[in-house]
């Protein structure tokens, strides 16, 4: 049987029409792929492990409730192992192999510094919670959004607390010799000076140094009224706290969130040494007056308890951040679909997304979504169920 040109054209046209109907039917049922780059192992994995508990819970809840317009979310996870090289490999796999709609992570700054330019080149929307200031730039990385504070916000909150709330004018600023530590000191010291504080001691010390007495004595000799350490090394921070207490020096220590971690607590010579230590934290996940959490956070805690999620060895803000991020992404996909440009357009106009960790807003010019006023200081020794009391002076 011969086929005429007209018949062939008709068949081709019919096939094209048929395929254009069939494709959305399949797409509607196929899962939406979301890339995820947590550090679940390696030296900086404690944050990633905490965040992962919230992320897994959120994805489970979204999928159990029917997904996004009937489509399940498929979380494609690549453990970065706290290593920027592996994070880059994971990102390449997610964007070139799996072709995900959006990527959440990496969750550590060092890895994000390596991954963000790569995701920008592949036009993949990215949401990350890393603090290094340069990681968001609406012009350079128009598809990258930060749903966490910047280093400037973190240091600013600590500086304001020391200078304005505690009224300490002479300050000692110390860090370890890591990139994070030295960058923090370089950024925060000018901020303190601009506020009118006198930085009487400024130093970068090897975190492996087993004896910090010389440094603490130097601070004391310079007349410091507060110590501000910037390091994520629990050993380094605990040595500062232990030495201050052994010298019976009654000055507050205010700084990095790790000051309030269970790992730091475990290394203290005596539990009472944790008094007058004020780490950074976030108002929505802190106990206010009367030891109460905000209603939204209480409801979240109930979810965690019913899902039997362990909070004893992690921090509430890590889990909350992990839970908020997929929910924010899901809300965006539900509103405009998984296409990158539409997602970015939606996020550029996001206003007060009601996260447990914080209310997130973006504009086309500002991709740092965390509000200043929600970055606070807390009492380290008040840790209970992964959350802290607000430091004295904040009120409710």
């Amino acid at each position: 049987m011969s086929i005429t040109r007209r018949q062939a054209l008709k068949s081709a046209a019919a096939a094209t029409v048929a395929s254009s109907f069939a494709k959305p039917a399949i797409a509607q049922k196929s899962p939406i792929q979301v890339g995820y780059l947590p550090a679940l192992t390696g030296p900086s994995s404690s944050t990633g492990v905490g965040i992962n508990r919230g992320t897994q819970l959120a994805i489970e809840e979204i999928n159990k409730s029917g997904g996004i317009d009937g489509r399940q979310i498929e979380l494609i996870t690549r453990d970065t192992q706290s290593d920027p090289t592996k994070a880059v490999n994971g990102a390449a796999e997610l964007t070139r192999g799996a072709k995900v709609s959006v990527v959440f992570g990496p969750v550590n700054s060092g890895e994000s510094l390596a991954v963000t330019p790569l995701l920008a080149r592949t036009n993949t929307p990215q949401v990350h919670p890393c603090w290094v200031d340069s990681l968001t730039d609406a012009k350079k990385y128009p598809m990258c959004f930060r749903n966490a504070p910047t280093n400037q916000q973190i240091g600013g909150a600590a500086n304001r607390y020391v200078f304005e709330v505690l009224k300490r004018k002479k300050v000692a600023v110390i860090s370890d010799t890591t990139g994070y530590g030295t960058a923090s000191v370089n950024a925060y010291v000018p901020m303190l000076k601009q506020m009118g504080a006198e930085v009487v001691y400024q130093g970068n010390v090897d975190a492996a140094n087993p004896d910090l007495k010389p440094e603490i004595l130097r601070m004391q000799g310079a007349g410091a009224e507060a110590i501000m350490p910037w390091s994520v090394n629990a050993g380094f921070l605990s040595r500062i706290i232990n030495t201050r207490s052994q010298l019976n020096w009654d000055v507050p220590i205010c700084g990095q969130t790790t000051l309030g971690s269970g790992q730091t607590k475990a290394l203290l010579d005596k539990p009472e040494y944790w008094a007058k230590v004020y780490p950074n934290n976030f108002r929505p996940v802190c106990y206010g007056e009367g030891g109460k959490l905000p209603d939204r956070t209480n409801a979240f805690l109930d979810r965690l308890k019913s899902a039997k999620i362990d909070m004893g060895d992690t921090l509430l803000w890590w889990i909350a951040l992990g839970w908020d991020s997929p929910n924010m992404i899901a809300e965006a996909i539900k509103a405009v679909g998984p296409e990158p440009e539409k997602l970015v357009g939606y996020l550029n106009q996001l206003k007060n997304f009601p996260g447990v960790y914080g209310d997130i807003s973006f504009t086309a010019d500002r991709h740092d979504g965390y509000p200043d006023q929600q970055v606070v200081m807390v009492e380290a020794n008040s840790l209970k169920d992964g959350a802290f009391n607000l430091a004295p002076g904040y009120g409710a």
């Binding site: 192992t41 390696g42 030296p43 900086s44 994995s45 404690s46 706290s82 010799t177 130093g203 970068n204 010390v205 090897d206 492996a208 140094n209 087993p210 004896d211 007495k213 010389p214 440094e215 004595l217 130097r218 090394n233 629990a234 050993g235 605990s238 052994q246 790992q263 475990a266 290394l267 010579d269």
Partner: protein, 285 residues
């Protein structure tokens, strides 16, 4: 200030000295500089914390098990990283093999133990004071080790055999000494000394996987300054290093303290290439 410099300087110096002795004991038996010396120190600290704090064993049992763990790692070092390269010592392959083993053990500790420093138990249940056990335990461990090694080498048959293979292992073998077994025993002994350094210094350094490169590095300085294979020189140089490092911490502080230590180290080696207590090797021409 002087008391603080002396106290913590001698304590940390004793740990460096013990790691230096660990290098020497392995070197004497094999002519190999095994870069697992600092790893043995790290393992001593981690095993001490594991057995006593995590598993709740009595201190004496935790101590003995930590030393046994060190001895086992010493033997593994000899079998895995030293024995295969003994025939080609002049190619210095041991640098690669011992460093590779050290790195593997360090990564294993990071994965299985923790990547964060963990607390080390108080060994004696006595109140904290100025001259605390944190400081005197490493010093005591150093004294006991040196006296013990002197007694072993001078007054026992096994000690004489150790000295014989250290002096000339071909001649020792010709005399019928079991060279391989003695070498294994030397590495086990080095493992015990390294683990003892980590255990005694655990309260100062904590149980931390990253102590391995620190001890490997700073423990090598006493060996270089004191003369290779010279235990007395290593102890003297280790104590001087600790005191100098602590004085630099007080006087210049911060990262400049490390710079001061290594500047001094380089100048000493320029002035005394064979170390402060080392004798220059004679070469037949």
């Amino acid at each position: 200030m002087l008391a603080s410099i002396v106290l913590s300087g001698l304590a940390i110096g004793s740990i460096y000295a013990l790691i230096g002795v660990t290098y020497n004991v392995m070197y004497s038996a094999s002519r190999v500089f095994s870069f697992t010396a600092g790893t043995l120190g790290m393992v001593g600290g981690i095993l001490g914390s594991l057995f006593i704090l995590r598993m709740g064993l009595p201190v004496w049992l935790g101590f003995l098990l930590a030393l046994a763990g060190g001895a086992l790692l010493g033997v593994i070092t000899e079998i895995v990283a030293v024995r295969p390269v003994l025939k080609s010592l002049d190619q210095h392959l041991y640098v690669l093999s011992t460093l590779a083993l050290a790195l593997m053990v360090q990564q294993f500790a990071a994965i299985e133990w923790s990547t964060e420093p963990q607390p080390f138990p108080r060994i004696f249940d006595i109140a904290r004071g100025g001259f605390d056990q944190t400081f005197w335990l490493p010093m005591a461990a150093c004294v006991i080790t040196i006296v013990g090694l002197e007694l072993l080498y001078r007054h026992t048959l096994v000690g004489h055999a150790f000295l014989a293979i250290a002096e000339d292992n071909y001649a020792a073998r010709a005399l019928g000494l079991p060279e391989r077994n003695l070498r294994i025993a030397s590495f086990a002994l080095a493992g015990v000394i390294g683990a003892l350094a980590g255990f005694a210094g655990g309260q100062l350094l904590l149980a931390f996987f990253a102590n391995a490169p620190l001890l490997t590095f700073y423990g090598f300085v006493p060996v270089a300054l004191g003369g290779m294979g010279n235990n007395r020189g290593a102890v003297a140089a280790g104590l001087i290093l600790g005191l100098f490092q602590q004085a630099a911490n007080f006087l210049v502080g911060g990262i400049f303290a490390s710079v001061a230590v290594f500047t001094a180290f380089i100048f000493v080696l320029l002035a005394f290439p064979d170390g402060l207590a080392g004798a220059s090797a004679q070469r037949r021409v």
